[in-house]
């Protein structure tokens, strides 16, 4: 009990108030860029191992992989280059995309976990220089539209072992968060004072998820999950301005043990984001489209008895993005990732790192490349 309390205390001390994941110009519209709810280990494999990783929050059943009380925390740095018809820019921003505390319950085949993950991110700062006519005279202006924040996913989940080969899990999700948005206009003519308007868009919703993992033989493990997130209410400065349907997610994954040191995995997730289309269009947005996300990768552990000691992880990923910049278009991303880590004190402390190269685009007009560097700290007291 003391260890659980200590773990929670440590985790609470380091978890930040806002936990958005990496941002993107493809997160400017709609609800933002979807988060991945994965630990640094899963990110190193492109997300392929997420359904079998107890420190990720994709499937509640994966909590069963937490062999002891565990706290994990990740920090992500995003170095992006964007290209649009308006110009190019180099951008960077640090984020904290995943936090989890969990562990098995003694004398029960049950594992509980509490996680705080990024659901979508709307972090951007857009600058628009222009010249307008006021009182018959041209006046140079500079507009800036900024947003910080996103939607977070607070999950309480449990995984239950059914014998040696099956695990089922269920989770309840509180979907909450806010965007602090601001628009500024400055004038070159000093007779005009700068305008600054601010608002806070807050979101609130509730979702549920279930998952199952089955072991087939000695080498194959299969996972399936489903999740529904209901509707999220959108408030502007505490006044409700609308509701947006959130998607149902279904996914499947398989992990294959090639040798005791080498595992390969693949995962696919499908989300019917188009259910949000009408609501977003009614609010004046560009709509939403269904998305498919697929990833594959492997993990090589030089010492299978100490799987967190200098593993080599590699993965590739493809994902469609739900919120196009212009209505009717589609945006997608590709990524290649590499990861590893170090363990200390009989694997009671682990430092992991992953590096992902991502390419995002919507047609030829809007492109983005990014280096996404994620570091994670896991403690098992």
């Amino acid at each position: 009990m003391r260890r659980i309390a200590l773990t929670l205390l440590l985790a609470g001390a380091i978890v930040p108030q806002a936990l958005p994941a990496q941002s993107s110009q493809f997160g400017v519209r709609g609800l933002g860029l979807p988060g991945r709810e994965q630990s640094v280990r899963a990110l190193g494999t492109g997300g392929a191992f997420a359904s079998f990783d107890g420190e990720s929050s994709v499937s509640p059943a994966s909590l069963a992989f937490l062999g002891r009380i565990t706290a994990t925390f990740t920090i992500l740095n995003d170095y992006r280059s964007t290209a649009t018809p308006a110009g190019e820019a180099s951008i960077r921003d640090p984020r904290f995309p995943q936090f989890l505390v969990g562990g098995p319950i003694r004398r029960f085949p049950l594992t509980l976990g509490l996680s705080y993950s990024n659901y979508t991110t709307r972090d951007y700062s857009l600058a628009f220089p222009a010249t307008i006519t006021l009182r018959g005279q041209p006046v140079a202006v500079n507009d800036t539209i900024e947003s910080r924040g996103g939607i977070n996913d607070f999950r309480l989940a449990a995984a239950y072992r059914l014998g040696q080969r099956w695990v089922v899990g269920a989770g309840a999700h509180i979907i909450t968060g806010s965007n602090r948005v601001e628009v500024r206009r400055t004038f070159a003519d000093t007779n005009y004072v700068a305008s600054r308007q601010r608002a806070e868009l807050s979101y609130a919703g509730f979702g549920m998820s279930v998952g199952v993992i089955g072991q087939f033989g000695e080498v194959l493990m299969v996972s399936a999950m489903a999740r529904t997130d209901g509707r999220v209410s959108l408030d502007r400065d505490s006044t409700e301005v609308g509701k947006v349907d959130l998607p149902i997610t279904v996914g499947g994954a398989a992990r294959l043990r090639i040798t005791p040191k080498l595992h390969v995995a693949g995962q696919a997730l499908y989300r019917n984001w188009s259910t949000a289309n009408d609501d977003l269009v009614a609010l004046g947005g560009t709509g939403a489209a269904n998305t498919l996300e697929a990833s594959g990768g492997f993990e090589f552990t030089p010492d299978p008895r100490r799987p967190y000691k200098r593993p080599i992880r590699l993965g590739v990923r493809y994902a469609e993005l739900p919120f196009p910049l212009t209505a009717g278009e589609s945006a997608s991303e590709y990524g290649v990732s590499l990861g590893s880590g170090l363990s200390f004190a009989a694997e009671r402390a682990v430092i992991g790192v992953s590096v992902e190269r991502a390419w995002r685009d919507q047609g030829a007009a809007y492109k983005e490349t990014a280096w996404i560097v994620t570091a994670g700290v896991t403690v098992r007291p």
């Binding site: 960077r92 700062s125 857009l126 539209i145 206009r185 004072v193 305008s195």
Partner: protein, 399 residues
């Protein structure tokens, strides 16, 4: 820890810490990268409420601004202002060598405190006249004072160098020059003078009133009657001063008058629409006033039109907000529309606890400048108005 581990750990720490910087700005592009659209500036003109703009007079009397206006033929040819100064009694005896003694006046210095002048007018001088002890200072009139200005009552000129912009100007009178300044029993020891001003062309000046730091001065340099004596000085200060005016404009009820003596102020009320009061972001607001006649005033010594807003609208005695003030210098003889930027005032009108949408106009220094403006009103067909530029509330909720 092995060297390799230390390098790896150090690398992770470096990437983690060095990357903790946010640089998010990128070029926006509409409509794709433009959630909510672009801010739109809306231009709107708001006229004053008809019949709710008016002038009130009597806020400040002459001399209250520690200034006396002295002029000849300005602001208008008919305008002439003459200063009247009565000094405190000069004592008949002074304390010298331990006793009260009579004295002999050797010389006298008369001075005037120049506060402002028209620098374009050369050879400026003050003409000083002696006023009789019978002058009733409680019932001064221009005609009464003007009748006393004659060759016989002329005392001296106080010349003002063309380079002098402000400060004390004086003349020293000696020997026979002081004869007209002898104070007889009928004077009660008091010197009474009138001061007018002339130059190469009609002009005016502002001189210091008795409560200012540069009042009119009267210094006597005397020799006491004593076996062993030495020169000493007697200085007396004004106990009364004012000025009389040939013309006293009376505000026209159908127009808006600002300035003058006694001073006039104008109140202008506007009905601020809810779209402006509630959520608009006012980026510029300009009060536009159309002069119904050229601005009266002394060239090169402009007064300042001050515009304030009220904390509560109680009519002529409404308290004004001390927080902000808009102003505009009013050059003499200007006829073009007067524009005053009042954005900071208008923003005080906004919100649920906004101040009354009423403007108060007054001149500065009040009752201390030649400047007087008469503007059109809602009754004269040239209604005061505010030209707004504002932005509506941005549709942040548009994703």
């Amino acid at each position: 820890m092995s060297r390799r581990r230390r390098w790896l750990g150090g690398g992770i720490a470096f990437v983690t810490l060095a990357g903790c910087q946010e640089r998010l700005t990128q070029p926006g592009e509409c409509p794709a990268l433009c959630p909510g659209g672009t801010p739109e500036v809306i231009e709107e003109i708001l006229d004053a409420i008809p019949q709710f703009d008016s002038t009130f007079t009597g806020y400040a009397e002459r001399g209250s601004a520690q200034v006396l206006l002295v002029s000849g033929g300005t602001p208008a040819p008919a305008d002439t202002n003459i200063a009247v100064v009565v000094f405190q009694p000069r004592p008949a005896e002074i304390q010298f060598a331990g006793a009260a003694r009579t004295y002999v006046v050797d010389s006298i210095r008369l001075g005037v405190g120049l506060i402002a002048r028209d620098t374009a007018v050369k050879n400026l001088r003050f003409e000083v006249y002696r006023l009789p002890p019978t002058l009733d200072t409680t019932a001064l009139t221009y005609d009464g004072v003007r009748a006393e200005l004659s060759v016989a009552s002329f005392l001296t000129n106080i010349a003002v160098p063309d380079s002098a912009l402000r400060g004390p100007q004086s003349v020293m009178l000696r020997a026979a020059e002081i004869a007209p300044l002898v104070l007889g029993p009928a004077d009660g020891g008091r010197l009474r003078i009138a001061i007018s001003v002339v130059g190469d062309s009609p002009t005016g000046t502002r001189i210091g009133q008795r409560n200012s730091v540069v009042p009119t001065s009267f210094e006597s340099f005397v020799t006491p009657d004593a076996p062993t004596t030495q020169p000493t000085e007697i200085e007396v200060v004004p106990e009364f001063d004012t000025y009389v005016s040939r013309v006293a404009p009376v505000p026209t009820p159908d127009l808006l008058t600002v300035g003058g003596v006694p001073s006039s102020r104008s109140l202008i009320r506007f009905a601020l629409p809810r779209r402006l009061r509630d959520s608009a972001s006012v980026v510029r607001a300009t009060l536009e006033l159309v002069p119904s006649e050229p601005i009266r005033g002394l060239p090169n010594d402009a007064g300042t039109l001050e515009v304030r807003t009220l904390t509560s609208d109680l009519g002529a005695k409404s308290p004004v907000s001390p927080l902000v003030l808009s102003s505009r210098v009013l050059p003499a003889n200007a006829t073009t529309t007067v524009e005053v930027e009042i954005g900071q005032l208008v923003r005080l009108w906004q919100g649920p606890n906004g101040l009354p949408s009423t403007l108060e106009l007054q001149m500065s220094p009040e009752a201390g400048t030649f400047t007087e403006a008469v503007f059109g009103s809602s009754r004269s067909g040239t209604t005061p108005r505010i030209r707004f530029e504002y932005l509506r509330a941005f549709p942040f909720e548009r994703p």
